[in-house]
C-alpha cells in the first residue's frame, strides 16, 4: 500500500487514487485481518516461549542465588557449574547410548522398510505381498504401551534384558509400519516408465531398487528417518522397562533419575534438560522443513 501512495504522488494524473480510496483500502485491510487468529498466535507465542526461556536462563544460574533473584531475569553472572555437574553425572555415556540406539534403530528400520515398500509397490500385488501390506497397516493401530508386557517377556526370553539391543529391536519393529506406508506412497509416485527403462537396460529388480528407487525416494527416506529418530531419541517407556543398569541408561531415563537425585537443585535439573535437547534443536535449525514434514508423515490432509 505504501508503494501505491508513493507511485501515485508524483504523477498527479486523473488516475491518482483519491485519499478516501487509500483509507478505504486500509480499513478493508484491517477488516480482513484475522484478529482471533492473530491474538491466539501472539498469546500462544508467550505460552511457548516463557517456559523455554525460563529453562535456559535458569540453567546458567548458580544454585545459591537462583532463589533470591527474579526468576525471569537472566543471570547477572552466568555460570557453567550446572552443566559441569550434569556432565560429571555420566551424561556423556547416556548421550552415547542414546546415539547408539537412535542410529541403530533408524538405519535398519528405514532400509528394511524401504525394501518392503519397494516390494509391495513393485511386486505386482501377489497374495503374500497384499497380506504383508495389510498386516503392516494393522501395526499402525497397535500402541506400544499396550503390548509392552509381552515385549518385556520376549526380551527376557531372548536374554536381551538390560542391553541396548533390547531397546533397538522393538524400536525397529514399531518404526516399520508407518515407514512402509510413507515410503510405499512415495515409490508409487515414481513414473512407471523409469522402472520400465531400467528393465529394458537389463537391470535386475535388486539393482533397480538401489540405483533408481533409492535415490528418487531420498526426501521420503529423510522424512521417515527424522520421524523415527525423534521417537527413539525421546522414548521413555522402552528404556524404563527393558533396561536397569546405569551404564545402559539413555537420555530421557537419565533425566528422570537425575531429577530424582537433584530435585532441589533446579538449575542443574534444567541444565540437564537443555543439554539433552540441544542436539535436536541443532537438527531442527539445520533441517526444519524435513523435520516438520517428518512429523506429519503419512497423516492425510
Amino acid at each position: 500500500m505504501t508503494q501505491q501512495t508513493r507511485t501515485a504522488a508524483p504523477t498527479a494524473s486523473p488516475y491518482r487514487p483519491a485519499p478516501e480510496d487509500a483509507r478505504r483500502l486500509m480499513i478493508n485491510r484491517l477488516k480482513r485481518m484475522n484478529w482471533a487468529g492473530g491474538a491466539a498466535g501472539w498469546v500462544w507465542l508467550v505460552i511457548v516461549v516463557l517456559p523455554i526461556y525460563w529453562i535456559v536462563i535458569t540453567s546458567f544460574k548458580p544454585q545459591s542465588t537462583y532463589f533470591s533473584t527474579n526468576p525471569l531475569l537472566p543471570p547477572t553472572s552466568p555460570t557453567l557449574i550446572n552443566y559441569e555437574l550434569v556432565i560429571r553425572n555420566n551424561f556423556i555415556q547416556y548421550f552415547l547410548n542414546s546415539v547408539i540406539i537412535t542410529v541403530g534403530t533408524i538405519v535398519p528400520a528405514v532400509l528394511l522398510s524401504f525394501m518392503a515398500a519397494f516390494a509391495i509397490v513393485r511386486g505386482g500385488g501377489t497374495r503374500f505381498l497384499k497380506f504383508s501390506n495389510s498386516l503392516l497397516l494393522l501395526g499402525l493401530a497397535i500402541p506400544l504401551q499396550a503390548v509392552i508386557i509381552p515385549v518385556y517377556l520376549i526380551i527376557i526370553r531372548l536374554r536381551l534384558y538390560d542391553s541396548l539391543l533390547a531397546l533397538i529391536l522393538p524400536s525397529i519393529a514399531f518404526a516399520i509400519p508407518l515407514s512402509v506406508l510413507v515410503l510405499s506412497n512415495f515409490i508409487r509416485d515414481v513414473p512407471k516408465e523409469l522402472f520400465e527403462s531400467m528393465r529394458v537396460d537389463g537391470c535386475t529388480e535388486w539393482g533397480t531398487m538401489w540405483r533408481l528407487a533409492f535415490p528418487l525416494t531420498r526426501p521420503a527416506l529423510v522424512t521417515v528417518s527424522i520421524y523415527n529418530g525423534l521417537n527413539v531419541w525421546n522414548g521413555f517407556l522402552l528404556p524404563l522397562i527393558l533396561t536397569q543398569s546405569p551404564d545402559k541408561r539413555v537420555l530421557p531415563l537419565a533425566l528422570w533419575t537425575f531429577q530424582g537425585q537433584y530435585s532441589i537443585n533446579v538449575p542443574a535439573v534444567l541444565a540437564s534438560v537443555v543439554l539433552t535437547t540441544v542436539p535436536i534443536l541443532v537438527l531442527y535449525a539445520i533441517g526444519r522443513r524435513q523435520l516438520l514434514s517428518g512429523l506429519t508423515a503419512g497423516f492425510g490432509k
Partner: protein, 308 residues
C-alpha cells in the same frame, strides 16, 4: 549403496516373466515382516494370552483362567482409571482442538512474521515427554518454582499436590506438548482449501468470521477427524508425561489406564491383571477410532493410530 548390495540368490529368475520377479520381491518384505511380527503381532496376541495367566514378571507363567479378569473387573480401581482416562481425553480434546485450529489457520497465512512464529511454535515437539514433565514440575514447584520466585500468590499453589489442580496441570502440559503437532496438521489442511472459495465469499461480501465458519471449518472436516482421532486415541496411551509429572498422584487422581497397567504389572508384579488392562486399552482404542471414522465417513487415514 549399490556396492553393498549382495547379488540376490534368484539371479537366474530375473527374466521379465512376472513369476520370477515377484518371487524375489517377496523376499524383500521378509526382514521387515519378521521383525514386525516378532515385536508387534506376537505381543498383540501375547497380551491377550497373558491376561489369562498368572505371572510375577520373573518366574514361571501359570495359566489362571479368568482370575486376572475377575480381579481387574471387580476392582474399583478400574472404573476410576477409566474415569480419569476419559477426563484427560475429553478435556485435552476440548482445549487442544479449538486452539490448534486457530493457530493452524494463523500459521497457514504466508506472511513472513507468521512463518517466524511457526518456527518457534514447533519447538515443544522436539522435547521429550520426560524433559517436558521435569521442566513443568520444576516450574510449578510451590517452593522453588516460578510463582514462588516472582512472589505472585495465585501462582504459589501446590499444583501437583491437589487432585483438581494436578489434573489441570496434566491437561495443560499435554496441550502444550501436542498443540503444535495438531496445528501443523491444520496448517496443511487450511493450505489445501482453494483460494477461489475465499475470493468468491469476499465478492459476496462475507466477513472474516463468516468465511471462517462457512468455508474454513467445513473444509477442514476431514482434518478435524484425523486430528481428533490421533488426539483421542493418543490420549489413551499417555504414559511418560504423567508418570514423570505426577506418577498418577496425588493419591490416584491422575492414574490413567496406561499408568494403572504399568503399576500393576511392573510395580506390583501382577502381569496377568496388567495384561487384562492392556487388552482393554487396545479394544478401547480400536472402538473409539472406529466410531470417529464412522462419524466422518470412510477415510483412508482410518488406521493412523500412532500412539502420538
Amino acid at each position: 549403496m549399490s556396492t553393498v548390495a549382495p547379488p540376490v540368490a534368484t539371479r537366474k529368475q530375473q527374466s521379465p516373466a512376472g513369476g520370477g520377479r515377484s518371487f524375489s520381491l517377496n523376499w524383500l518384505v521378509l526382514p521387515a515382516l519378521v521383525l514386525f511380527i516378532g515385536f508387534g503381532i506376537i505381543p498383540l496376541i501375547g497380551v491377550f494370552v497373558l491376561s489369562f495367566t498368572q505371572w510375577d514378571g520373573i518366574g514361571e507363567i501359570h495359566p489362571a483362567g479368568l482370575d486376572s479378569w475377575m480381579t481387574v473387573l471387580s476392582d474399583p480401581g478400574l472404573p476410576h482409571a477409566l474415569y480419569v482416562t476419559f477426563v484427560v481425553m475429553i478435556a485435552s480434546w476440548l482445549v487442544q482442538t479449538p486452539l490448534s485450529i486457530l493457530i493452524g489457520v494463523f500459521i497457514a497465512g504466508h506472511q513472513r512474521y507468521r512463518a517466524v512464529l511457526a518456527v518457534i511454535y514447533f519447538v515443544p515437539l522436539l522435547l521429550s515427554s520426560a524433559a517436558l514433565a521435569i521442566t513443568f514440575k520444576a516450574l510449578l514447584d510451590p517452593n522453588f518454582g516460578l510463582g514462588a520466585g516472582l512472589g505472585i500468590p495465585i501462582l504459589v499453589q501446590d499444583w501437583l499436590g491437589d487432585s483438581t489442580l494436578a489434573m489441570g496441570v496434566v491437561i495443560f502440559v499435554v496441550s502444550w506438548q501436542y498443540i503444535p503437532f495438531h496445528s501443523l496438521i491444520y496448517q496443511g489442511g487450511v493450505r489445501q482449501i482453494p483460494a477461489s472459495m475465499y475470493e468468491a465469499a469476499q465478492i459476496d461480501g462475507a466477513g472474516r468470521m463468516r468465511q471462517f465458519f462457512s468455508i474454513t471449518l467445513p473444509q477442514l472436516k476431514y482434518t478435524i477427524i484425523t486430528s481428533s482421532t490421533l488426539m483421542v486415541v493418543g490420549s489413551l496411551t499417555f504414559f511418560d508425561i504423567i508418570f514423570v509429572l505426577t506418577a498418577g498422584g496425588p493419591g490416584d487422581a491422575t492414574r490413567v489406564l496406561a499408568l494403572d497397567m504399568y503399576k500393576r504389572g511392573f510395580q506390583a508384579n501382577l502381569m496377568g491383571p496388567a495384561s487384562a488392562i492392556a487388552v482393554i486399552l487396545v479394544v478401547l482404542g480400536l472402538v473409539i477410532a472406529q466410531l470417529l471414522q464412522r462419524l466422518g465417513g470412510s477415510d483412508a487415514t482410518a488406521s493412523q493410530l500412532e500412539g502420538a
